[in-house]
């Protein structure tokens, strides 16, 4: 039922992401695309190492034109937008900032939503601006599933609050509960042989 999970986070997000991803069950196969707002001098590979140390997954900075594979977490590099192409590969661009952000959560969410339609989960976590709210609205408009971090559990509540005000959110939870929830959804849908085959995109 779902092909991909997209996550957007900003201030306080590295810890929130680590806590969320740390709750996912072994074998969780939906690929995860993550935009964590970074200063342009910060290296996404270091963020990947921090998260990787607290999870069971392959976590790394996304590379241009690479194919999305199951069981992997891809992080947008600093100062580049992470975009999903029609061929379901990743593209890194230097297009103008959106809501003063690059990478922008809206850019990832909107491009992924256009490609995956209802087969996507969008998650907005802690942060100080309203990036991601429009993207989450696009995901919901296309029939996808939306989750926001409970603002009470966020280091900075503005970003989840903006999304909650802007669009319908299917469920509002703490980072750990989002991880558990994703694991429970995946348990019902995802590890069937048929779905596993679908996880390997565009090997043509």
């Amino acid at each position: 039922m779902f092909d991909v999970v997209t996550i957007g986070s900003s201030a306080g997000g590295i810890d929130a992401c680590s806590r969320l991803l740390g709750m996912l069950p072994k074998g969780f196969s939906w690929p995860i695309l993550l935009v964590q707002h970074l200063h342009h001098s910060q290296d996404a590979s270091i963020v990947a190492e921090i998260i990787k140390a607290r999870t069971n997954f392959s976590v790394r900075a996304a590379r241009n034109k690479e194919i999305v594979l199951s069981g992997h977490v891809y992080i947008a590099p600093s100062d580049q937008h992470l975009v999903v192409t029609k061929k379901r590969s990743l593209s890194l661009t230097k297009h103008q900032k959106v809501k003063n952000c690059r990478p922008s959560i809206d850019v990832l969410f909107k491009s992924a939503s256009a490609v995956f339609q209802e087969r996507i989960i969008g998650i907005i976590l802690t942060g100080a601006n309203d990036d991601g709210a429009d993207g989450l609205m696009a995901i919901k408009s296309n029939g996808g599933f939306t989750i926001a971090q409970d603002p009470k559990t966020a280091v900075v509540s503005h970003m989840p609050n903006s999304a909650i005000k802007k669009t319908y959110i299917d469920t509002v939870l703490s980072p750990e509960d989002i991880g558990r929830f994703l694991g429970e959804m995946w348990e019902v849908f995802a590890s069937s042989p048929i779905t596993r085959k679908r996880q390997y995109y565009d090997r043509r």
Partner: protein, 124 residues
Amino acid sequence: MTEDKKTVLLVDDKAGNLFALNIILKPMNLKIIKAQSGQEAIEKLRENHIDLILLDVKMPVMDGYGTATCIRKESSLCQIPIIFVSAIDEDSGSFLAENNHGKIGYVYKPIDDQKIKMLIKTYV
């Protein structure tokens, strides 16, 4: 006026499982009622007209088979079809041995959405 929509009770202690089942059943135009424990399921059954129960096997306090045994003992509820939702390795032997009447079906996680839809159509 008669309501055409059939009502299905989803019983699972895990919220993610309930959401996932709801997504699978959404295209079937059913009325969905949810319960997160066996006890809550029995209360919902007494309060509502339910046409079919989708019952998770592995739940704390009262598991799916315990819940089904209670349901089968109530004369007003005992004819409601039950589809158990379970992991493939969960043992159903004792329940089936003691409850060989009524409509009972099984689906296994991860759920084959075509199979569960066919089973539901058979029962409601």
